[in-house]
Structure formats: structure tokens, C-alpha cells
């Protein structure tokens, strides 16, 4: 159900051309440097593969491959379940040239946020929330007042 979907959006400016950033986010051996530990995936629309996080992992499906501007995939950590809307996380990258540089934007959306192998629950307590989203900002303020 879309009513319980979450969506998180982040972006960064990279001092490299779009083509270089594209290779960094789409080549499986590069993906292992910033995302999953193990990536067994062909980068073409509809391709199915696997991503591993430590001793856990699950099936991945490539959705969009539009070099060098759009790349998206779905993954689901439950073994045996094919990633589809409603049971998986969608990760969408958009690359936009800004002069010689590249604005890389990522949108993660999906359900089941809190039962994922790449979430390090131990870290919750150590990391403080920092500003994204009006709701959480205000919330953090209220909670701090009460503490």
C-alpha cells in the first residue's frame, strides 16, 4: 500500500563528469565499494541478480538503465521472494551535469524499513539525527525539551 511507503532523498555534488559518476554507480565491482559487499548483477533493465550484506543478502532486480542519467534497482532481503513493489526497496539514482561536475541524487523508497540487513541498529543510539524533513526536525526539538 502506498500509504505506508517511505521516501528518502539525498544528493551530492561530485567534481567529476557524469560519465565517470555513472560508471561508479553502475559497475558491479564499483558497487561493492559503496553499497553491498557482494554484487552479482548484470546492469540491464529487468536483469535479476543478488546483493549481499555481510552474511545476509537477497535478490535484486534492475529497473531502469538510461546511461548516463538514470539508474534504479529493487532489492529484497527475503530469500526466495522476487523483488516487486510492495515487498522491496527501490533505489533510484539521477545524474545531472552541472558544468564540469555532476549532481547525483538518490531516492530510496519502500516498505519494511526496519527489518533490513543493511541497517545497523546498534548505531541508532550513537548517531544524532540531522536535519531533513520538517517533521523530524520539529520532533527532535520537542523530544529534546522533554528529555
Amino acid at each position: 500500500m502506498s500509504t505506508s511507503e517511505y521516501q528518502i532523498e539525498r544528493d551530492i555534488l561530485i567534481e567529476a563528469p557524469v560519465e565517470v559518476v555513472w560508471r561508479t554507480i553502475t559497475e558491479p565491482d564499483q558497487i561493492t565499494l559503496w553499497f553491498a559487499d557482494k554484487v552479482d548483477l548484470e546492469i540491464k533493465p529487468g536483469a535479476r541478480g543478488y546483493m549481499g550484506f555481510g552474511d545476509q543478502g537477497g535478490p535484486v532486480m534492475v529497473e531502469t538503465v538510461e546511461p548516463p542519467t538514470r539508474f534504479s534497482f529493487r532489492w529484497n532481503h527475503r530469500a526466495g521472494e522476487e523483488p516487486a513493489p510492495g515487498n522491496s526497496v527501490l533505489v533510484e539514482f539521477t545524474l545531472a551535469g552541472e558544468g564540469e561536475h555532476t549532481r547525483l541524487r538518490v531516492v530510496e523508497s519502500g516498505l519494511d524499513l526496519l527489518r533490513r540487513p543493511d541497517i545497523d541498529k546498534q548505531k541508532y543510539a550513537d548517531e544524532h539525527t540531522h536535519g531533513w524533513g520538517e517533521f523530524l526536525d520539529r520532533l527532535a526539538g520537542v523530544l529534546a525539551e522533554r528529555a
Binding site: T3, S4, E5, Y6, I8, R10, D11, I12, I14, E15, A16, P17, V20, V21, R23, T24, I25, Q30, L33, W34, F35, T102, L104, V106, E108, L111, D112, L113, L114, R115, D118, I119, D120, K121, K123, Y124, E127, T129, H130, W132, G133, F135, L136, R138, L139, A140, V142, L143, R146
Partner: protein, 114 residues
């Protein structure tokens, strides 16, 4: 006792109109369903439904005062949920920083005259 955030909690907080109800409760401290219904563009029935979901997720508690039922936010539980969201955002910040480092290094290498 260790309490972990769960799907129910997540679903409860991810819905925008439920967040609106939560927001109002956070600001007000304690409120009845009819007071809440007066503040939002949806019906009293919708507010009651949202309160049920929020209560089941442990985000909201209730007490009776005379003939009224008053609702209030469970701050610890809400804090847990907001941390989970912030954690996802932070992990992407770290990943994007790594991508930036990798791409800039690859670019610098390609620029180097041979």
C-alpha cells in the same frame, strides 16, 4: 527489555495524515479525538482510525477523563521511529560521500598526462 522498531510502527508513522495527527499531539501534549478532528481536513472517523493505528504501534497512549478519552504521544517510541528514518538518510550520505570519493579519484587519474 529491548524494544526494536517494527513494521507496525513504521507503517504508522509513514502515512502523511497520521503524521499530521501525531504532529498535533506532539504540539498539544494531550488531546481528544474531537479536538483533533477540528484541526485537520479529514473526518472524525478518519481521525479515530488513525488513532487506532497509532495506538497499536505504541506511538500513542490514552486515558479517560470524565466522559472524554484523551490521547498523548509516547515520546520514546516516536524517538525510535524518527531515528530509524534519520539512520537511512545518514547511510545514504555516507554512501554518496564514498561515491564522490571514488568518482573524483577515477576522474583525477584519467586527467593525469601519460
Amino acid at each position: 527489555m529491548e524494544t526494536e522498531p517494527d513494521d507496525e510502527l513504521w507503517a504508522a508513522i509513514a502515512d502523511p495524515s497520521r503524521r499530521r495527527v501525531l504532529d498535533l499531539l506532539v504540539q498539544r501534549g494531550e488531546a481528544s479525538a474531537s479536538w483533533l478532528a477540528g484541526q485537520v481536513p479529514f473526518t472524525r472517523q478518519a481521525v479515530s482510525k488513525h488513532l487506532v493505528v497509532l495506538e497499536e504501534a505504541g506511538l500513542v497512549g490514552r486515558r479517560k477523563q470524565g466522559r472524554e478519552v484523551l490521547y498523548r504521544v509516547d515520546a520514546d517510541r516516536l524517538d525510535q521511529a524518527s531515528r530509524a528514518m534519520a539512520d537511512v538518510a545518514q547511510r545514504w550520505d555516507r554512501r554518496l560521500a564514498t561515491i564522490k570519493r571514488l568518482a573524483e579519484a577515477a576522474h583525477a587519474q584519467a586527467q593525469r598526462p601519460t
